[in-house]
Symmetry: D2
Subunit: 202 residues, 4 copies
C-alpha cells in the first residue's frame, strides 16, 4: 500500500489491484488537422511510458475510444453541444488509438459515447468482476473525459489516481483548474515518476 499525502482533504490509499485506464488517446486529439487537436503530445509520450511500466509489472491496461453510430444518433446532446464530435462517427482514422499507447491484442478496448469512461459502458462490471480496487487514469482531456471519469471512479467506489504528466488539455488554465478540483475532492493527483514507482512496487 502506498499512501499519497497530498490534498487539503483526505487522502485515498492506493490498493493492491490496480488497472491502468488510458482514456481516448485517439488521433483526433493529436492530429493537427483535427478540430479537437491538442497543442502538445507531451501527455501522450508520458502515457506511453506509464502503459509500458504497467505491462512490465503485469498490471492490466484498459483503453477507451469514442465512436458514434450512423448519423451520430447515439451522441445525443453531446454531439449537439460539441459538434466537432461528429468527426467520430463510424470507425475512421480520427478515432484510432495512437501508436504510443496502442492496445495489445489481449487488452480491453472500450468504445464509449460520453465523457465518463463509466457512462454507457460495462467498465464498472469488468473492474468489479476482476477484483480491481484502484484506477490509474491517463489520457485526454483533463477538463473533459479525465475529470468525468475521476468523479465516477470515486462515485463507484474505486480509488482513482490521475497522472498529472499523462493527461492533457487544450489550454493550461482548465488543465490546472481541473487537477485542483480532482485532488481536492475525488482522487489523488501524482506525477509520472510516482506512478511508475507505484506500478513497480505493489
Amino acid at each position: 500500500m502506498v499512501e499519497i499525502a497530498e490534498g487539503f482533504g483526505g487522502t485515498l490509499s492506493l490498493g493492491r489491484r490496480p488497472v491502468v485506464l488510458s482514456i481516448d488517446m485517439m488521433r483526433s486529439y493529436f492530429d493537427p488537422d483535427s478540430p479537437l487537436c491538442l497543442p502538445s503530445t507531451a501527455s501522450l509520450e508520458s502515457a506511453g511510458r506509464v502503459v509500458e511500466a504497467a505491462r512490465e509489472n503485469q498490471v492490466p491496461v484498459v483503453h477507451t475510444r469514442v465512436e458514434f453510430g450512423a448519423g451520430g444518433v447515439d451522441g445525443g446532446l453531446f454531439i449537439r453541444k460539441v459538434p466537432a464530435l461528429m468527426r467520430l462517427v463510424g470507425k475512421n482514422p480520427l478515432n484510432e488509438i495512437m501508436p504510443q499507447v496502442a492496445p495489445q491484442p489481449d487488452e480491453l478496448v472500450i468504445t464509449k459515447q460520453y465523457a465518463s469512461a463509466f457512462f454507457g459502458t460495462s467498465l464498472v462490471s469488468t473492474l468489479q468482476a476482476n477484483g480491481i480496487d484502484t484506477i490509474m487514469i491517463l489520457g485526454v482531456s483533463t477538463s473533459g473525459c479525465v475529470r468525468a471519469t475521476a468523479v465516477d471512479a470515486l462515485q463507484y467506489g474505486f480509488t482513482a489516481v490521475v497522472v498529472r504528466d499523462a493527461v492533457g488539455d487544450r489550454e493550461p488554465g482548465p488543465h490546472e483548474a481541473n487537477l485542483y478540483d480532482i485532488q481536492a475532492k475525488y482522487a489523488e493527483v501524482i506525477d509520472e515518476a510516482a506512478a511508475i514507482t507505484y506500478l513497480e512496487s505493489r
Copy 2:
C-alpha cells in the same frame, strides 16, 4: 394513445414516440450448430414483420447484439455463469444479426455484454435525447435479455410493450412464466397484430 387493458395490476398507456428495440437477434440463437440455438424461428419471422411495419410508419428501430473483447474479460461473471457466451468473443458469424431483421444503414446497432439492453450501454441517453417514451421489445430470449430489458425500461421511466409472438425462448415454460411476470409488474404484453396496429395508428 392506445390503452391496453390487460393485466391484473395497472396498465401503462402506450405513448406517441415509440422505438422498436430488436434484442440480440443473432445467428447464435438461430443456427442449429450454436450451443445457444432456440428450437424455433417463429419469433424471428414475427419480429421481421414488426420491424417492417415500424419502418413503413417512420418508427425508429434500434438493434442490440452481444460482443465480448479478447478473452471475454468484459463478460465478467456472465461468461463464468454461461460459458456458451464465449462463442460471442470478437466479431464472428454467431453474433451477426439475422437477415430477417438486419439493420438498415441508418439504424442504431448497440453492442452489449449483459442481459439488459440498458446495462453498460448508452441506450437510455439515446432514447431520452430523442424524446422517446415507449419501447416495443422484440427478440430473444424471453427469460433472459427480454425480461431484463423490460424491467429496466420500467425502472428508467419508459413504457415498454413486449410483443408475445416476436420474443422467443429455449422452452415454453420459462417463455410463458416470464411473460406472466412482465405483464403483472413491468410492461404490457401484446400480440403481433396489436403491435402492428399501434405502429400504424399513432
Copy 3:
C-alpha cells in the same frame, strides 16, 4: 472458497467477502391487511435465521425498504403499473421492516423506489468501496425485487447466491419459475442450511 456445483450452466464460486442483503422485508408483505401480503411467513422466519448467522459470523447485513415521496412522483411508471405501491408513500407502518430481521443500529438501510436493490441507490458503491465480492440475497418477492436484484448483481460483477428458503412470493409458480431462471443464468440458488454453513466457514 465454497464451490456450489448446481445448474446446467456454469457455476460461480462464492467469495471471501460476502454481504447479506435482506430485500424489502416490510410489513406490507406480511400484514394480512396489506394488498401486497404474501400467503406465508416462512421466508421471513428463514431470513431471520440467516441474518442471525451473518451477525454471529461478522458478515455485514444490508437492508432495503421501499418509500416513495409525496404523491408517489418518484414511483414513476412502477406505481402506474402496480397501483398497490401507493401504500408505500411516506414513512408508514407498511414500509417498516419486520421484527424478525429488523436492522441493528449499525446496519445500512437503503431506501429504494424500484425493483432492483441496485437501481436508483448507491448500493454498488458501498459494496465496491468495502471490498465485497459476494451477495447473499434474502427477501421478497422472488419474481420481483429478488430476481431483479440477482440479475443486477451479476451484471455489476458480484457473485450472488439466493437462499431458496428465505425468499418468498405470492404464488408457488412464479417462485419456482424465477428460481429456475436465476440458477440457470444469473446466480447460485442454495438452501438455508448451505447458506448458514457458508457464513460460518469463510
Copy 4:
C-alpha cells in the same frame, strides 16, 4: 423554445418541459459553524428567487440533500476523501434544507450520497416518467455537485441550464473555471434574469 447562443461549441435549445433542480442547499453550506460553509449566501438568495418563479409558473421543483447511514458506510470513498462529510451522517441540522428554498409539501426531496444528483438516486426515472426535457440547476457547490450533475444531465440526454447567480462555491477561481467548462462542453450557463424569463415564457 428559447435559444441560448452562448459558448464556443454548440448550444442546446431549452425545452418545453423543464424542472428546477435545487442541489444540496443545506445548512452545512451556509452555517458559519460548519466546516463546509461557503463565504456568501448570494447563491442561496438567487436560488430562492428562481424557485419562487418556478412555483408561480407551474414548473416542478426537485430538491436534493445529502445524508449518510450509520458510520457513513454508504459514503464509501467520498467520506474518506472529504472527511468533513461525516457531519452529514443521519438526519441532523446540517443536512436540513435552508428556509430560502425549503421544499413545499408536494415537492420531491431526493437524498443522495455522492456528487451527482443522478448518482445512486432514481432522479433519471422520475424525469423520464414525467416527460421532462430540461433541467435548470441551482445550488452548491459549483465545482462539486453542480458540475457533476451538469455532466450527468447531458450524459443522460437532458438539456441542462446552470444559473450562474444561483450556484456558489468556496472560492471564485473554481466557481469560474467550472462554469467555463460547463458552458464549453455540457450545458448552458445563464444569469438569473434569463432563467426567470425562460420560466415565465414557456
